[in-house]
């Protein structure tokens, strides 16, 4: 018990990193998701194909593998492409020394992954708006783009709040996978404390409890948003 309380500051520091990465990733994920989701609905076949491939890949492979690819894989890719990087003095430098900053890799991997799920959420949201809405907007002379922006998306956004909330919560828990590339988020903080204290049960239980507090708060916020937007209908 005492060890749990004593390690709380360190765990909370990890938790704040978990929150930061989650918020950043969901934000970028929403941007990716909106673009990819709309591309999935595009008339353009190539765009549709690319978007579908994107979703298939990132939904069909484990996030853990994606994290490893982004962090360990991409520097090698860069090296293969260029062979050498040039340092500040113009001297060629072997790129294998180059490592992507961990946090950047973490946010990239999580954003790409949640972007795929969010794309599907947006696509479903747009498709759930009845056809008459698009027809009414188009019959007023709006272009497809104007109709999407002013008529379809505002209605779709309201409908996707609950599944978007789910995705937010799922991602928050999934960031624990980032421990494998040495990001000291909440889970990794716990592991580090256990490594010297051997108090696995107490520490991991505390870690779980902190996750629970965060996800619970998040789901209440989502509920609140959902209710508020409903009344403004």
């Amino acid at each position: 018990m005492e060890i749990a309380i004593n390690s709380l500051p360190q765990l909370l520091k990890g938790a704040s990193l978990t929150v930061t990465i989650t918020v950043l990733s969901v934000t970028f994920g929403c941007i990716i998701g909106l673009i990819v989701g709309l591309a999935r609905l595009s008339k353009n076949k190539l765009l549709r194909l690319l978007a579908t491939a994107y979703v298939d890949f990132f939904r069909g492979t484990p996030l853990l593998v994606q994290i490893l690819i982004v962090y360990f894989g991409t520097p090698i890719l860069l090296q293969d492409a260029q062979g050498f990087l040039v340092d500040n003095y113009g001297m060629p430098q072997l790129i294998s020394n180059y490592a992507m900053p961990r946090l950047v890799a973490a946010v990239i991997a999580c954003s790409l992954n949640s972007g795929a799920y969010i794309a599907e959420i947006f696509r479903a949201g747009v498709q759930s708006i009845e056809r008459g809405q698009m027809e009414a907007a188009r019959s007023l002379g709006m272009s497809p783009r104007q109709a999407m922006r002013h008529v379809i998306l505002p209605q779709a956004f309201k409908r996707v709040i609950p599944p978007l909330g789910n995705e937010f919560i799922a991602l928050m828990k999934d960031t624990s996978l980032l421990s494998v590339i040495g990001i000291i988020e909440l889970t990794k903080s716990g592991m580090l404390i256990v490594a010297w204290s051997y108090e696995a049960f107490a520490i991991y239980l505390t870690v779980a409890f902190i996750y629970l507090v965060m996800t619970f708060t998040l789901s209440r916020v989502v509920d609140y948003l959902e209710r508020r937007l409903k009344t403004s209908d």
Partner: protein, 240 residues
């Protein structure tokens, strides 16, 4: 005003419209009647390219309708449409449902668009509902807002797709009254309807459609009084 030549429309193998040709003059009110599945709604929807014709040509005000996006958007600004199920935008108030078209499509400044919208809501008798959302309006009120919304673009032609079919009986009258006013003001109107009373009273011409064909057309007196075609007679005998 509207010239339709040899219009065909099929969905896959299902042929919905066969070789329809007709001419609708300026300020004319044409009512399209016929059994369900006769293709009358599809015909109407072809007139502003909500459905793409399979073959044939449509000219509106001398401009040929093609699937070119710019032409479509331009033509649609001149052709208002009112739907059976209203299709109001649920996230906008009655006022903004009406002001949205001018504001977004014609780039009318917001204040001005709202003034236009307010005037139109007065015209359809809903001045007091300006700030109400569609789901708080009755069916008849929603349809009147939908008419105002279409009118906000100052169209030259108004298309009505069974505008009263989804309404409770006691609300049909208020919508028809607004449409009569429009007809009296000289709006060119094409109305797909089951309201034979309206067709008889307001229509300049009645078109009877069956199985995708334009079977017979004439003045309301001709069609309702002494139709020539057997199918027209059979249909009318069932509903009159």
């Amino acid at each position: 005003m509207i010239e339709v030549r040899n219009l065909d429309k099929s969905f896959g193998k299902l042929v919905v419209l066969r070789d329809i040709s007709c001419h609708i003059a300026l300020q004319e009110v044409v009512c399209v009647i016929g059994p369900s599945g006769s293709g009358k709604s599809t015909f109407l929807r072809c007139l502003n390219l909500l459905e793409q014709p399979t073959a044939g040509e449509i000219f509106i005000d001398g401009v040929k309708l093609t699937d070119n996006d710019n032409t479509i958007n331009l033509v649609r600004q001149n052709v208002g449409m009112v739907f059976q199920r209203f299709n109001l935008f649920p996230h906008k108030t009655a006022l903004h449902n009406v002001s949205m078209g001018p504001e977004i499509v014609q780039k009318t400044p917001r204040k001005e668009a709202e003034k236009i919208a307010n005037d139109l809501l007065v015209k359809v008798g809903l001045a007091d509902k300006a700030n109400v959302y569609p789901d708080q309006l009755s069916g008849g009120q929603q349809q009147r807002v939908a008419i105002a919304r279409a009118l906000a673009m100052q169209p030259k032609i108004m298309l009505f797709d069974e505008p009263t079919s989804a309404l409770d009986p006691e609300m049909v009258g208020e919508v028809l009254a607004v449409m009569k006013d429009l007809a009296r003001e000289g709006m060119t109107m094409v109305v797909v309807t089951h309201e034979m009373g309206f067709a008889r009273e307001v229509g300049d011409r009645v078109i009877f459609m069956d199985e995708g064909r334009l079977v017979e057309e004439g003045t309301p007196e001709q069609i309702f009084g002494n139709a020539e075609n057997e199918r027209t007679k059979a249909f009318l005998s069932k509903i009159l």
